[in-house]
C-alpha cells in the first residue's frame, strides 16, 4: 500500500511516500493532490476512489507533495516549480499512464500526460483564502493584520499561513499561477452528485457517492 519514490529536494535526494494500489496493470493513474488543507479534506474521498479503481483493474498512486503529509523535506523550502518537478519524477517512477489532478494539484501536475482535472484552482484564489484566514484569526485574537501588507511581506520573507510556513518562492509562485490544462478532461464537481466540493468542508469527510462517480468517469 505504501510505496516510496526517490525525489531530489533542496537538500539533496530524499525518499518520498505514495499510497499505491499497484498490481502492475497497464492502466496506471497518478493522482496529484490538492494543496494545503484541501488535500486533507479530500484524501478520504480519493482513497475510496482508489479502492474502486483497483477493483476496476486500474492501478493508482497518490504521492505526497514534498514537504507535505509524511514527507521529511522542509516545507518552507518548497515551491510550485519544485512540486511540479517532483510530480513528474513520481509519474516516471511509477510508470503512470494517466493523471488525475485535483484543485490546486492542477498547478503542479505533469500536464503532458492524458487524464483528468477535477475543479482546478487558481494560485491566487488559494493564496487569497489562506491570507484571509490569517487576517480573520488575527482579528479574533484582537490584532490587526492587512492582506496587502501580508502578501507584500510574504513575497520577500515568506509567510506562515494556516500553520504552513510558506517560503517566499511558494508565495510568489502562487500569486500568479494558473492551471495549465493541456487536453485533459475537466471534471466539474456537479458531475460527482450532491454534497458539494469536499475542499469547502470545514471538517474532512468521506463521500462514497462522489468517490464512485469519480471512479466511473476515470474507468470510462
Amino acid at each position: 500500500m505504501i510505496a516510496t519514490w526517490p525525489c531530489p529536494g533542496p537538500h539533496g535526494q530524499s525518499e518520498e511516500y505514495a499510497l499505491a494500489l499497484d498490481r502492475d496493470r497497464p492502466r496506471r493513474l497518478l493522482i496529484v493532490p490538492a494543496l494545503f488543507d484541501e488535500a486533507n479534506r479530500m484524501r478520504r474521498m480519493l482513497v475510496d476512489m482508489m479502492r474502486l479503481l483497483d477493483q476496476a483493474g486500474i492501478d493508482t498512486f497518490l504521492p505526497d507533495l514534498p514537504g507535505c503529509n509524511e514527507s521529511l523535506q522542509d516545507f518552507t523550502a518548497q515551491s510550485l516549480h519544485g512540486w511540479r518537478s517532483a510530480m513528474l519524477i513520481a509519474a516516471r517512477h511509477f510508470r503512470a499512464s494517466e493523471v488525475l489532478a485535483v484543485r490546486g494539484g492542477a498547478l503542479v501536475y505533469p500536464n503532458a500526460m492524458p487524464g483528468w482535472v477535477l475543479e482546478p484552482a487558481k494560485g491566487t484564489s488559494i493564496l487569497r483564502q489562506m491570507i484571509r484566514a490569517r487576517v480573520i484569526a488575527a482579528r479574533e485574537a484582537g490584532e490587526h493584520e492587512d492582506s496587502a501588507d501580508l502578501l507584500e511581506r510574504g513575497r520577500t520573507e515568506g509567510l506562515e499561513l494556516a500553520g504552513w510556513r510558506c517560503g517566499a518562492s511558494l508565495i510568489a509562485g502562487l500569486e500568479h499561477a494558473m492551471p495549465e490544462i493541456e487536453g485533459q478532461r475537466l471534471i466539474a464537481q456537479s458531475e460527482l452528485g450532491g454534497g458539494g466540493g469536499l475542499w469547502l468542508r470545514a471538517e474532512p469527510a468521506a463521500a462514497p457517492a462522489q468517490s464512485a462517480a469519480l471512479a466511473r468517469i476515470i474507468a470510462g
Binding site: 483564502q129 484571509r132 490569517r134 480573520i136 482579528r139 492582506s147 458539494g196 469547502l200 470545514a202 471538517e203
Partner: protein, 95 residues
C-alpha cells in the same frame, strides 16, 4: 428570477445561494440549513466554523455571488448570525 419557496416565505436568490454554500461548507442536510433563521448563530456557535472555514466560506460567497468582500468588512458582527451575513450580502449584491 429563481426564487424558491421555503417554510412558506419567499426566499431571495442571495438567501438560497448562501444556504447552499453553508450546506456545502458545514456538510449539513438541506433540511437543517433551511431551518436557519436570522438569529441562527454562525461563527462562535458552530464549532466547525474556524478561521480557515470562514475564509473558505467568504471566498466561495464571492465566487458564487460575483462580489468582493474587503478585509475591513469582515468583523465579528458580520459573522455573528445568519441574518447579519445575509443582509450584508443582499446590500452588496444590490449595490
Amino acid at each position: 428570477m429563481n426564487d424558491t419557496m421555503a417554510a412558506g416565505t419567499l426566499m431571495s436568490d442571495t438567501d438560497s445561494t448562501l444556504r447552499a454554500i453553508l450546506q456545502d461548507v458545514l456538510g449539513l442536510s438541506a433540511e437543517r440549513v433551511a431551518a436557519f433563521d436570522a438569529s441562527t448563530g454562525l461563527f462562535g456557535d458552530l464549532p466547525e466554523l474556524d478561521s480557515m472555514a470562514v475564509a473558505g466560506l467568504l471566498t466561495e460567497i464571492e465566487d458564487r455571488l460575483d462580489i468582493v468582500i474587503e478585509d475591513d468588512e469582515v468583523d465579528g458582527e458580520l459573522l455573528e448570525s445568519y441574518g447579519n451575513l445575509l443582509s450584508f450580502l443582499e446590500a452588496k449584491v444590490a449595490a
